[in-house]
């Protein structure tokens, strides 16, 4: 009986949602802001990747919010998983030679790939979040492949705080120099499609990449340490 009632309720809800979706035109732009970004984004920000120009330049403040959310999540996880340092049990089984060597070989390559993605965020697809996640997956590989190896905690904390600070300071300098809004693009735009272009966008993306990478790496570090 209950399942019949819930099924009928589900049907009614589906009907209602599809009725309301039916009224929205599909595949047409309802506002002009998207067209504006596509037309003017390149010349106004100097970034040839329009997505980046939206994420870091037009909506830079939202990106600061996203980074803050990730930061709060990492802090919360550390608070929940906080345990007094267990003494290293010393019975960590060493992995086989092939696995360890393979991980050591792949680790710098994955790091380089992640760094490439966020340094070229204004030219090619991808950016700080994607590059940071790839760097965190390199740390994950080391934790799984070479057991007993740890990335220094103070190092990752320092990188994280410094990159967050760089983001804020660059935004505040923009506010002070441009005087119009936070994260004002005060550096010269440079030539379109070259590495040193788009003003503050590469600096911000490098900061975001380092921050996301060290935060996600820290989360993985906490979890691996907790699971022993």
């Amino acid at each position: 009986m209950r399942s019949i009632i819930s099924f009928v309720l589900l049907l009614i809800i589906t009907w209602g949602i599809s009725l309301s979706l039916d009224r929205i035109p599909f595949g047409e732009s309802k506002t002009h802001v998207g067209d504006y970004y596509i037309e003017k984004g390149r010349e106004e920000t100097g970034a040839s990747n329009v997505v980046t120009s939206v994420v870091v330049n037009y909506r830079g403040f939202d990106t600061l919010g996203e980074v803050t959310v990730l930061f709060v999540a990492a802090i919360g996880l550390s608070a929940v998983l906080y345990t007094r340092r267990k003494k290293q049990k010393g019975e960590v089984e060493p992995a086989s030679l092939v696995l360890t060597t393979g991980c050591r070989f792949l680790f710098p390559l994955i790091l380089l790939f992640g760094a490439y993605i966020f340094i070229h965020g204004h030219l090619t697809p991808g950016g700080g979040f994607q590059g940071g996640a790839i760097i965190a997956s390199a740390f994950l590989l080391v934790y799984m492949g070479c057991r007993g190896r740890r990335i220094s905690e103070t190092g990752s904390k320092t990188v994280e705080s410094l990159s967050g600070l760089i983001f804020l300071v660059v935004g505040l300098i923009g506010l002070a120099v441009g005087g119009r809004y936070f994260l004002f693009n005060f550096l010269p735009k440079g030539e379109l499609n070259s590495l040193f272009s788009a003003g503050i966008i590469p600096i911000i993306y490098i900061a975001i990449g380092c921050k996301v990478g060290s935060e996600l790496g820290g989360i993985i570090d906490r979890l691996v340490e907790e699971s022993g």
Binding site: V51, I117, P125, G126, G127, F129, Q130, A133, I134, A136, S137, L140, M144, L216, I219, I220, L223, V224, E226, S227
Partner: protein, 79 residues
């Protein structure tokens, strides 16, 4: 093109249903990892390469690893 996308969507649905019905949790995590991977391929085919990167690295790699770590930490007596 539309055939490839359709086949990938069917495969993704099959993996999602398999993730629901697997008794062993590790198998379920692998199946949900497969859902993320196919979603990444679909994003790439639909010309959203940056979303594809985020989905592949976070959805397929990090989330699966966190799930597996959590499952290893808890009791595993579902077999």
């Amino acid at each position: 093109m539309i055939l490839i996308v359709g086949a990938l969507i069917l495969l993704m649905l099959a993996a999602a249903i398999a993730a629901l019905f697997f008794k062993d949790l590790i198998n379920a995590v692998i199946a949900s990892c497969m859902v993320s991977l196919i979603a990444a391929i679909l994003f790439y085919l639909l010309q959203a390469p940056d979303v594809a990167m985020a989905e592949a690295s976070i959805g397929a790699a990090l989330v699966s690893a966190i799930f597996i770590i959590a499952i290893r930490r808890t009791q595993r007596n579902e077999e």
